[in-house]
Symmetry: C2
Subunit: 405 residues, 2 copies
Amino acid sequence: MAEAWEIQIRVAPLKLNKDKTKVKSMAKAADEFTVTPWEVSGNVDYQKLIKQFGTEPLTDDILNRIKKHTKELHFMLRRKVFFSHRDLKWLLDEYEKKNKFFLYTGRGPSGPVHIGHMLPWMLTKWLQDKFDAELWFQFTDDEKFLFRKKQDAQLEDYQKISYENALDVIAVGFDPKKTHFLINSLPEHAGLMHDEAIKIADRITASTVKASFGFEDSYSIGQFFITAIQAVPAILPSVLAGKNIPCLIPLGVDQDPHFRVARDVYPKLGFYKPAILHSKFMTGLLADGKMSASVPQSTIYTTDTPKEVEEKIRKHAFSGGRNSLEEHRRLGGNPDIDVCYQWLQAFFEPDDKKLLKIYNDYKSGRMLTSELKEYTIEKINAFLKEHQKKRELAKKQLNKFIFKP
Amino acid sequence: MAEAWEIQIRVAPLKLNKDKTKVKSMAKAADEFTVTPWEVSGNVDYQKLIKQFGTEPLTDDILNRIKKHTKELHFMLRRKVFFSHRDLKWLLDEYEKKNKFFLYTGRGPSGPVHIGHMLPWMLTKWLQDKFDAELWFQFTDDEKFLFRKKQDAQLEDYQKISYENALDVIAVGFDPKKTHFLINSLPEHAGLMHDEAIKIADRITASTVKASFGFEDSYSIGQFFITAIQAVPAILPSVLAGKNIPCLIPLGVDQDPHFRVARDVYPKLGFYKPAILHSKFMTGLLADGKMSASVPQSTIYTTDTPKEVEEKIRKHAFSGGRNSLEEHRRLGGNPDIDVCYQWLQAFFEPDDKKLLKIYNDYKSGRMLTSELKEYTIEKINAFLKEHQKKRELAKKQLNKFIFKP
């Protein structure tokens, strides 16, 4: 089944001209994408990215090995929303030798959480449940401060956002007994990570950071250093336990460069290289880039009201429909470029049969754009209603999640 | 009196040829010195250094202003072993407006402490007493790890050296109630400093660090970052108190570049620029460079036995004496290049009258090199006997000095 869905997914946006009426030629757009921890732009060609980053595609063979242990496959795996990995075979080898792994992922708290941010967390929660895994979750508020666009924003502002964002993470349903939040600016967490960050930083040259992230000498020494802090949680549980524990990092593929740099370092310090599982990006509503908190109309925030969701989807969701009802009925729509369809596929419709029916109905013209939008609005609002309830409850749980060294 | 001593002091070494028999021409040697936090070599011309670093000479006017408050002047001030400063006038202005300052200095724990390291601490202790000042003392074990020469040395090795070195600092006699040790690799201290380090690092570009320290892209991102951590204690008491407190940093002039960089940053974060008081270096026994722990025969360690001191001085102390007894009696010695004389002047003979007598006796030939060496050995051993006793007692006091956040 995975293959069937794979050909349909395009979580990355098509690159459109400014008037958003004409799709640029794929051949040209494919050459134009940029993916770094601080910039994602253009039409990301994930197959090219696999080559460019030197990762491995997530094959059915590996998915079947995972399924052996999990009985079922999360739809984000079967549909290859997670499309690429590093060392997952090794991780499964270790797991099969009873050498359990822990999970590490994180959040750069630059602003409110939108559903694009939640995508890797949903799979992380599933992995925690299926593999009974500890999760270390880092809030990189120091990093977001160092890379802020508003020069007058303070580190403390990003710390506050960390706490706000943490509610969304808790609402995903992680097990408080097995989940440990690290907030970089908290003295007890910064102190816990400092020595390992120094040991990692000792092994990374300015030259490597420049080559990996495209930095120049005008970048701050904080920006140069920060990758060392983000690298720490992948070994921290091993340091604390005094033994080497395998680690799996599910993340948006834009964060991979941090670990491409750090993975060379870990073995020099006596640790395993962590395995990594890369997700694609969720398209923004406007279909002209990854969903971005800095483009509000492209984004569904976790705190949006049903009315806001309705309006955003109705007004802004880029559609694969035809210009007229008659034309749509006759020629059918194009689900492959329709943002609503892509969202259902990547996030909101776990049921493969329902999704396939929508695909076929929309493509044939049986389903109208308004109907597809209505369906998506319902799905999103059902999700957000639940999420917002859990998010409210999370306020009382927060303390349980914050790691006590 | 200050002027009289000033012309005589040459705490910096003369540059000698390899066979140590011939003094290079001053004109040439003067152009050849290097002073950075990680390298001091050549014949340091302190007047040139003042221009090169953009500091101000420590004038008699300032010394007299200090004396107004302290009643007497420490011999290291009157003899201009401390020779240069930044913003000392401002600091005294503030003090006279009842805005008290705190002191900040530190130690890079690369190995055992020698008497050259202790020089700035002796004056710092005097300043603490005279101005009733709090002292923050940072052990930069993370920095020493990042700049280690032995690649297999561990951060933990430098942490151990911090504790060893801390005993020497305590033995100086600082007030445990007013003295706060920060050990960078200690989680509670690293955590305490992280956020301020990030804010400072945010304002320093890689470019600035390259220009100030001569780093290249092959340097580690840890090395680039570390100046931000060393900059923190100059503002930490202000951060903790929630109000701006003036700071005075007595240090070896080689450490000035850290603060030259950081001083531009502090006001941008809302803090005062700290005032700085720069000491010259103590000449090594061999008179071919600053005393260095990596050249053991050039060095008197604080843990040396009386016998070791005797041997080192007798065998290695570069002498300003003549080739024969007869010649010495007839032509006199040269105290200005004699290491023993310089040590007495900079450290071991606080009594100006005694020092002047030695100067005159040695120059006239009345005092022989062997007699000068004997006098110096006695002085050093008397100092070390006391120091070693206090150092032993310090083991029980250590906990009182370590800052508890």
